[in-house]
Symmetry: C2
């Protein structure tokens, strides 16, 4: 049995207390992060590893102590204040380095922080919900389903809004995913991450959380957004549109930027300053479509790209491909061996795969009508996605295919559904 199958079957996750029954005896300890064999830290401090073949049974004895108060009954409720639900999904905002094993310990620091932030408890009643605890680079389509379930369940209690704490690496992918999953959202769902972990003096977790909650209490915005530092100083945050934002710096606290758009608002002690038009709840039933097609990929155009890399997606029967092209949306198709790329793209489209084009410039929009390369790709059936980011395009394509099938996906890919496409005017650049 493969290691991850073993984990999946048992439900065990890093940090859990587990019992391992092996051919050579039984062991108990804390599950350590590993990839191909099972490793636990024993009570005496030693680590022991087991090959999956030798494991007869793996059982979770105890999940790590989650300090989150599971419902609002246990915290003091001020009847005059609105309810805000916080969904904890993991990431830096919910982790600290555990020096005993060198791994990331599954503590929910964000909950501790919230308890420690009087600003928040003066504004709202908080209900904390533990959804999952993973580093955001590990998050995938099945997590989006979990997030959706948690949001749906939270909405039934009619909170003023929902905060989702999330790792920053893929926060823009997840925010896009929730944007597409929910149609007619009646409330704001604000993703909050932090670039510095909560146990560091320079942590951005506190300000980001305060401003997310502050925004929720005062806004009539309804939809999904991201709340992160607006600049290097510790005084204001931007509320960024979920489908038009991107992590643009690996470490800075103001890493998240609106792409081909503006922040929705700036939030600080001084209140909310709106910076562009935003969605409001217009009535209508909440629609939830939470499926994702997994056979979707991204390929980045580059000098020397070989047609075998494109053919791979046809051989493996992919349903969707985003080409992150150069400039206005190009990939080598005309000179010498590059003509094989064009054949491969046409053949891939012929096989039923939806092929779309974004730009690796990040800023600006694709345009198939200026150069012969663009015209030929468009004629071949490549869908040019204007100013949509590659990341949002990828999530949207997977979501459309997962819920509505190929024909409908083709029809809707170039239509604006959740603000992912902007008008030609007023685009922003760095």
């Amino acid at each position: 049995m493969k290691y991850w199958n073993l984990l999946e079957k048992s439900g065990a996750k890093t940090g859990d207390k587990v019992r391992v029954e092996t051919t050579k005896g039984d062991y108990s300890g804390t599950l350590l992060p590993s990839s191909n064999f099972l490793e636990i830290k024993l009570a005496n401090g030693y680590n022991v590893g087991f090959m999956p073949e030798s494991v007869k049974n793996l059982k979770v004895i105890e999940k790590p102590k989650i300090k989150a108060k599971k419902n609002s009954d246990k915290i003091s409720v001020n009847a005059f204040l609105p309810l805000v639900t916080i969904l904890h999904t993991g990431g830096t905002i919910a982790s600290k380095v555990d020096y005993s094993n060198g791994g990331v310990s599954p503590s929910i620091d964000s909950e501790e922080i919230i308890s420690a932030i009087p600003e928040i408890s003066r504004m709202v009643n908080i209900k904390s919900v533990f959804v999952t605890n993973v580093l955001s680079e590990e998050i995938s389509f099945q997590h989006y389903k979990e997030f959706a379930r948690a949001v749906k369940s939270a909405i039934q209690e009619k909170p003023k809004g929902i905060v989702v704490t999330h790792g920053t690496d893929t926060m823009h992918y997840s925010a896009s995913a929730l944007s597409f999953i929910f149609e007619n959202l009646p409330i704001p769902i604000i993703f909050v991450g932090s670039q510095r972990s909560s146990d560091r003096p320079s942590t951005d977790a506190k300000l980001n959380l305060i401003n997310a909650v502050r925004f929720i209490t005062k806004t009539d915005f309804a939809g999904v957004a991201i709340c992160m530092h607006a600049g290097l100083s510790d005084d204001s945050c931007y509320i960024l549109p979920a489908t038009k934002s991107r992590k643009m710096h690996s470490t800075r606290r103001d890493a998240f930027r609106a792409i081909n758009s503006k922040p929705i608002a700036k939030v600080s002690d001084n209140g909310i300053e709106y910076l562009q038009n935003y969605e409001r709840y217009e009535g209508g039933q909440l629609n939830v479509n939470d499926n994702f097609e997994e056979k979707v990929a991204i390929i980045k155009a580059r000098p020397g790209l070989r047609s075998e890399e494109i053919k791979f997606f046809e051989e493996k029967a992919y349903k969707g491909l985003i080409i992150e092209g150069t400039g206005m949306g190009h990939i080598a198709i005309s000179e010498g061996k590059n003509t094989e790329n064009f054949e491969a793209i046409k053949s891939l489209i012929g096989s039923g795969c939806i092929v779309c084009m974004t730009t690796q410039c990040i800023f600006g929009r694709t345009n198939p009508n200026v150069y012969s390369t663009g015209r030929r790709l468009k004629e071949a059936g490549v869908l040019f996605l204007e100013d949509m980011t590659t990341e949002t395009a990828y999530i949207k394509l997977s979501w459309l295919l997962g819920n509505f099938g190929t024909e409908k996906a083709k029809e809707l890919m170039q239509k604006n559904l959740r603000g992912e496409l902007s008008e030609r005017i007023g685009t922003e650049f760095i």
Copy 2:
């Protein structure tokens, strides 16, 4: 015979007058852009297509008239002015739309522009050299070799500097490539592109060329750089470091930005303002290494990435892979099925492929030491490339493998050779 083989054998390129000998007779006309069959425009204006199988012979009758003056004998030479050689490689700066066939006509407009720019002929004697004429998305490793040959040949005439006109889509890849090819460059090589074609009033070709030449005449910078608009107004250009720049907007004239670095200088009517330290010629022999390993690729980390995509590179015996990771350089390796990605990466490294990590944030640097994901990838042998851009990393890896083999490439990949790695201090952000 495949179409591109036919083209390669005959040396025919789009725009050439060709004779096609087929089983049904002979035809002459202008070669049109096509991919899988041969298409020509006859003298009477009609287009005819031929399947490659039916073509017995393809012969170039006449290359398009290149208006470039091939050497300085034919233009008036001012003995008091320095020589600047312009290498024409194509792109928007050297093209205009040919409405007769809808393709891009191989005119060397940049040469026409230069003749039409009195500012340039007052500063220098120009020698124009036609290298190739392709849209930059089509440029690949074999073109870098052509560029290198042209540069070597130009240097023998001891110009004050060289201007390379180039399409903007992949100009940063080509500038990186020339940076690595030449060690101990005695002069500046300045890449110049334009975002608006020369026949448009808003063209940036003129200002970019003037400022590139102006910079060359006055600087003691020796190395490769890019000269493009500094902002939206038509008054100044930036000289950008070749290995630390990137096209960051699909259409704006100030699309090129220094990444994790500053421009080398700002150039305008007012002269040169240096913005950071730069390389000078310190003596020593010019070393030229112009080979590139073609079996190198880029893969972008993302939610839902499947291990089969990584395994592909092992199955196809790739020698190098750049993972454009999330955040500080992550890819999903720990949760559930993601563990198969880790196995695939380890196995790929085991097969002799060099696997490197950059960040899709664009700005900032990778760091394997903060999170468990980074530490595990580093332990597995992934080389973290600090603040090197993905594009430069790709070119560098291909160049190192092509000239020095795997062991030397591993050793040099994380060492700064041409300014591609910056110190930890003073990095810039948007």
